[in-house]
């Protein structure tokens, strides 16, 4: 696997790793059968993502994209976060091998799912 140095650095020193016990939204994407599962937790205050964490079962790319996407959305508004694409995640990592692009998609989907969950909970209360 030819990973960029950025990917390897991110994998070695992942940020925002772990769980938020009292999260406002949780996104659970991926499938253990396929070898990639990402859980994204967000904490939202005044429409802003003030905290975000991930738990990931998956390859080097899955862990690196998890870390990167949490870094990218932290501090952003929910609307801004929704605009983050998988390409943006991959670019922030100096690219991904073609067969690993699905990991960046998972990261995008993870954030979206977490925000959706947050929206849903808010509309319910």
């Amino acid at each position: 696997m030819e990973y960029s140095q950025k990917v390897m650095e991110e994998f070695m020193n992942p940020q925002n790793m772990g769980k938020i016990e009292d999260a406002d939204g949780v996104g659970k994407v991926g499938n253990p059968v396929c070898g990639d599962v990402m859980w994204i937790y967000i904490k939202v205050r005044d429409g802003k993502i003030v905290d975000v964490k991930f738990q990931t079962f998956g390859c080097v790319a899955a862990i690196a994209t998890s870390s990167m996407v949490t870094k990218l959305v932290k501090g952003k508004t929910v609307e801004e976060a929704l605009e983050i694409t998988n390409r943006a995640v991959a670019e922030a990592l100096d690219g991904l091998p073609p067969i690993k692009m699905h990991c960046s998609l998972l990261a995008e989907e993870g954030i979206k799912a977490a925000i959706e969950d947050y929206m849903k909970r808010r509309s319910e209360t």
């Binding site: 696997m1 390897m8 994998f11 070695m12 992942p14 790793m17 772990g18 769980k19 659970k28 253990p32 059968v33 396929c34 070898g35 990639d36 599962v37 859980w39 991930f54 738990q55 990931t56 079962f57 998956g58 390859c59 080097v60 790319a61 899955a62 862990i63 998890s66 067969i99």
Partner: protein, 390 residues
């Protein structure tokens, strides 16, 4: 950082004696062995000597050994060869679910060509049971191909019994012995197989050179047509240096095999015992006894293989994984699925395969490093927390 190489089932460095033997055949003794002048005769002789050595390693006569461009080519040659030779007789081939891709993909290609293929299931240790083979043989069966030792989990198949079952029904038997030859004693006559594949780079010989044993009397067409090399069974100017290297590697394997097993088995056993002892929730794959003495394949629950490999690599340790993520497909190892592991566990596999240059320090380093790696990755895993919570 000194590399700790534990991927000898993937490939091996050539033995110094092998490279030494090869060198003269690149430059001074470069002649085409088919030519008739004096220089060429010497080269021809070197090839025949190499053939004798390889033949001796597998307990047969030189005329039953073909040199060929690697283990995969040997498998393709044997299986396609029988398919074409006997297509008038039947169109059914039997193999197992845990074969190397060189066998599996060849069979899949033949399916496209109109052949029917049965992929025999294996038990939880990866063993093909002779009864299961017996049931599968039909009137139209023309070939059974079962590997001698599995490359991922090391399980050794009961080849002698399986070959007997095939022969009772008059069916030819091929075995992919790429992982066995050079590591353990192999005698084609005792095994009673009709064809056997081997590959030099798995036993300290060069890459790109394989051997195919074809029992005298078995007539199959060439896979590569052309000149009359290898008695018309594999065309193309011979890879002379490679063949000489394969011969020397065979000779060295004969000499060192016992000693290697005595040295490597305890190292593998220590590695196994310590890893299982130190890391919770680890499964050892393959048969507890009928397993290559150098191979340890484990599944570490809750995490995926590639991350472990990457972190091992950063610690100078080279190992492998049947993980999907290292191969670019989403499916984990077909071998691990075939022995009944669920996908999510199969994704967390690691293979350590030891060789003659490993030391006890190497093993100690892995024992020291891997538990920490696993802990680190499990800390990120949703499944692991889940488990602890539960």
């Amino acid at each position: 950082m000194k590399e700790i190489y534990m991927d000898y089932n993937a490939t091996t460095p050539v033995d110094p004696g092998v490279s030494e033997a090869m060198l003269p055949y690149l430059r001074e003794k470069f002649h085409n062995p088919s030519s008739i002048y004096s220089g060429a005769k010497e080269v021809k002789k070197a090839i025949e000597e190499a053939r004798e050595k390889v033949a001796r390693l597998i307990g047969t006569k030189p005329k039953e050994v073909i040199f060929i461009g690697g283990g995969s080519e040997a498998d393709n040659h044997a299986i396609k060869g029988v398919a074409f030779a006997l297509r008038g007789k039947g169109n059914h081939i039997i193999t197992s679910a845990i074969e190397h891709h060189a066998v599996l993909h060849t069979c899949q290609f033949l399916e496209k060509m109109g052949f029917e293929v049965t992929y025999l299931p294996v038990n939880r240790y990866g063993i093909v049971e002779p009864e299961v083979l017996k049931e599968a043989i039909r009137e139209e069966t023309i070939l059974v191909s079962i590997m001698m030792a599995n490359n991922e989990i090391g399980t050794m198949e009961p080849i002698k019994e399986l070959a007997e079952v095939a022969h009772e029904r008059g069916v030819l038997f091929h075995t992919d012995a790429v992982q066995a030859v050079g590591k353990i004693p192999v005698n084609v006559k005792e095994l009673g197989v009709d064809m056997l594949s081997l590959s030099a780079h798995k036993f300290y010989g060069p890459k790109g050179v394989g051997g195919l044993y074809v029992r005298w009397g078995v007539k199959i067409p060439s896979l590569i047509h052309g000149g009359g090399q290898e008695r018309g069974r594999r065309a193309g100017t011979e890879n002379v240096a490679g063949i000489v290297g394969a011969g020397r590697a065979a000779e060295i394997a004969m000499e060192e095999m016992d000693e290697e097993e005595r040295k490597i088995r305890p190292l593998r056993d220590k590695l196994e015992k310590e890893l299982v002892g130190r890391i919770p929730q680890v499964i050892v794959n393959g048969h507890p006894e009928k397993r290559l003495y150098n191979t340890l394949n484990i599944c570490v629950k809750g995490i995926e293989g590639e991350g472990m490999l990457a972190l091992l690599d950063m610690n100078g340790i080279s190992a492998s994984s049947g993980s999907a993520c290292t191969s670019g497909s989403l499916e984990p190892s077909h071998v691990l699925l075939a022995i009944g592991l669920p996908h999510e566990i199969a994704h967390g596999s690691l293979r350590f395969s030891l060789g003659k240059y490993n030391t006890e320090e190497d093993v100690d380093k892995v024992i020291e490093v891997l538990p920490w790696i696993v802990e680190r990755l499990r800390a990120m895993s949703p499944f692991w927390k889940e488990k602890e919570d539960a």
